[in-house]
């Protein structure tokens, strides 16, 4: 990569071994990634074959497991649907590796923004704390979260499959309306950008409905049908929601949820999947269980045998 004062292959090599990169290296990599992402549209068009990955949430060993199962970069093309950080123990290593892979193979790796790629959310759910703990200051967290502002919001595969982190928005009927969003900012609480990373399907409904939380939407069967018709797509592919089976297909195969963090938070006992779209556009869920290293590197936060005995009161 021209103008980058670091050896990306060496960085990737180190990250595969779960070694941290120095803060100045992270800073340079994030700066370069911003330049690259800035040129991407809010709707990036790509062609299959591609393997689509849902939420990872810092579960680094499970990311390695995905590469072992689905193939390493650049032999396999990857589309990641967001939520790389928070919750798991290795958010820094996870996002460092993904960003290096994106820089090294920009046309073979695509990263979409999830609701956790935000300053506000990462302060509450672990990434900030992890950065400070591993680097002694919040510098790395600033580099990464500034870079998050540049991540694209959606990807279309083969002009046929619409991919987004959360779901649809009542403000968006055509993908042209996504293209005009000013995305280079913190994720706002309201508006189409928030909806794309936030909303959830509700299979019992037809239209949009307000969440009981007082902010956010759910979208129903007719909304999905209309959106696909208007844009001449056949399928919506999203992440954002935990499912025990690792994936869920709704609305007569018009929408899939792909979830890629097995045994989420090291205690949910759920399966995970990646969705492989072959060169003809056919979809196949590759389901997998948690990586064996999770147990070796401690952690089963829902331990079945050796619970940490505690004199609680």
């Amino acid at each position: 990569m021209p103008g980058l004062p670091v050896d990306l292959d060496a960085c990737i090599e180190r990250l595969y071994k779960r070694e941290l990169l120095a803060e100045p290296v992270i800073e340079a990599i994030c700066a370069k990634t911003k330049e690259l992402l800035m040129r991407e549209s809010n709707v990036v068009h790509i062609l299959s074959p591609v393997t689509v990955v849902g939420d990872i949430h810092g579960q680094f060993y499970d990311l390695l497991e995905i590469f072992r199962i689905g193939g390493f970069c650049p032999d396999t093309n990857y589309l990641f649907l967001g939520d790389y950080v928070d919750r798991g123990l290795f958010s820094v290593e996870t996002i460092s590796l993904l960003v290096c892979l994106k820089l090294r193979y920009p046309n073979r790796v695509h990263l979409i923004r999830g609701n956790h790629e935000s300053r506000g959310v990462t302060q509450s759910y672990g990434f900030y704390t992890e950065c400070v703990r591993k680097y002694g200051s919040a510098g790395v967290w600033h580099h990464f979260t500034d870079m998050f502002d540049f991540l694209t919001l959606s990807v279309v595969i083969n002009n046929d499959i619409f991919c987004v982190h959360g779901g649809l928005s009542p403000s968006i009927h055509s993908i042209d309306q996504i293209k005009i969003i000013d995305r280079f900012r913190e994720i706002p609480h309201e508006g189409p950008m928030a909806d794309l990373v936030w909303s959830d399907p509700d299979a019992d409904r037809d239209e949009f409905a307000l969440s009981p939380r007082g902010a956010g939407y759910t979208f129903g069967a007719q909304v999905v049908k209309k959106f696909l018709e208007i844009n001449d797509f056949s399928h919506i592919l999203r992440a954002h929601q935990l499912c025990q089976e690792g994936y869920q297909v709704l609305y007569e195969d018009r929408l899939s949820t792909v979830w890629s963090a097995p045994n989420y938070c090291y205690r949910c006992g759920n399966l995970a999947s990646v969705l492989e779209v072959d060169d003809l556009g056919a979809r196949f869920f590759n389901v997998f269980d948690q990586a064996p290293e999770n147990a070796e590197n401690r952690i089963d936060q829902q331990p079945t045998e050796k619970a940490q005995v505690e004199y609680f009161l």
């Binding site: 506000g120 609480h189 949009f208 969440s211 939380r213 025990q244 005995v309 004199y311 009161l313």
Partner: protein, 286 residues
């Protein structure tokens, strides 16, 4: 005194094999249990519910369960060997706890930015008036456990759980920590219900702790403790609510602490920042 036909062991006396029968994971329920002096404690930890199970639970409850729903997990305390047909039993499970969540939405909390969000929305999409069935989506519960049908009921008492006895470093024969449910409140905080239990030679303590943080709005802890003194057959249950506004709590955080986000994720640390609002203590003797 105990109505048990089995004589209780002398308090603090040496344990015999008969007193302690630990059963490690059985294939049937992936659970484990211990029986000490006629009290059997069972815990079971299984994966979160699958789509079919979630549908069933949604139907039973009338509300959507939390994001992480450990619907097959359970912690139970049971009096055994008393010769009664239906032994006294108290259980803690997600279904029981969630059944007590307000399903009318009468006292609904809203996320901090709700007002701004609603205003913006009204401007843009006046057509969307339908709210997904309103309910207390913070999953706040005043769950005190589920008693088996026909079981002896608790009665109000002035007696307190004897903390001095629980502070003793008695050997812990059995310990477990069981999640019942957890939700991130769509990144607006967290809501979590888990149950811990520890069994010592002469007594046991169970703590079912509900912790909820709604960012920029409120902190809430609801604790149910069940204490059993084996020799006397006494069971004391204490239910305690702690709560304060986000604003008040934040004022009390020491300014030099850099790990405030980590503290706010830890219910145990948060107890010292939240004042007790109410306590109810009950007792029964088996």
């Amino acid at each position: 005194m105990s109505s048990s036909s089995m004589p209780p062991p002398p308090p603090g006396g040496p344990l015999t094999a008969k007193d302690v029968q630990a059963v490690m994971p059985s294939a049937v329920d992936a659970g484990k249990s211990v029986t000490v002096a006629g009290f059997k404690v069972t815990t079971r930890k299984l994966p979160i519910l699958n789509a079919t199970e979630i549908e069933e639970m949604t139907e039973k409850l009338g509300i959507a369960p939390p994001e992480m729903i450990f619907g097959n997990n359970v912690v139970a305390i049971e009096k055994v060997g008393s010769g009664e047909e239906t032994p006294w039993k108290i259980e803690f499970h997600a279904l029981g706890a969630l059944d007590l969540v307000d399903k009318t939405g009468s006292d609904m909390l809203k996320v901090a930015y709700s007002a701004a969000w609603q205003k913006q929305r009204e401007r843009m999409h006046e057509g969307i008036k339908e709210v997904v069935k309103p309910f207390d989506w913070t999953y706040s519960t005043n769950y005190k456990g589920t008693l088996s049908p026909g079981a002896k009921q608790f009665e109000a008492t002035q007696e307190q759980i004897p903390l001095d006895k629980l502070r003793r470093p008695d050997p812990i024969l059995f310990f477990d920590d069981v999640m019942l449910y957890e939700d991130e409140l769509a990144d607006n905080g967290m809501s979590i219900l888990s149950v811990k239990v520890r069994v010592m030679p002469a007594r046991l303590l169970l703590l079912a702790r509900f912790y909820m943080r709604l960012d920029d709005v409120v902190f809430r802890i609801r604790d149910t403790r069940v204490f059993v003194e084996f020799a006397e057959g006494t069971v004391i249950r204490e239910y305690q609510e702690r709560e304060d506004s986000y604003e008040n709590v934040k004022k009390n955080f020491p300014p030099y602490r850099e790990d405030v986000p980590a503290i706010m994720r830890d219910a145990n640390q948060m107890t010292e920042y939240l004042p007790v609002r109410s306590t109810v203590t009950e007792k029964l003797v088996l």
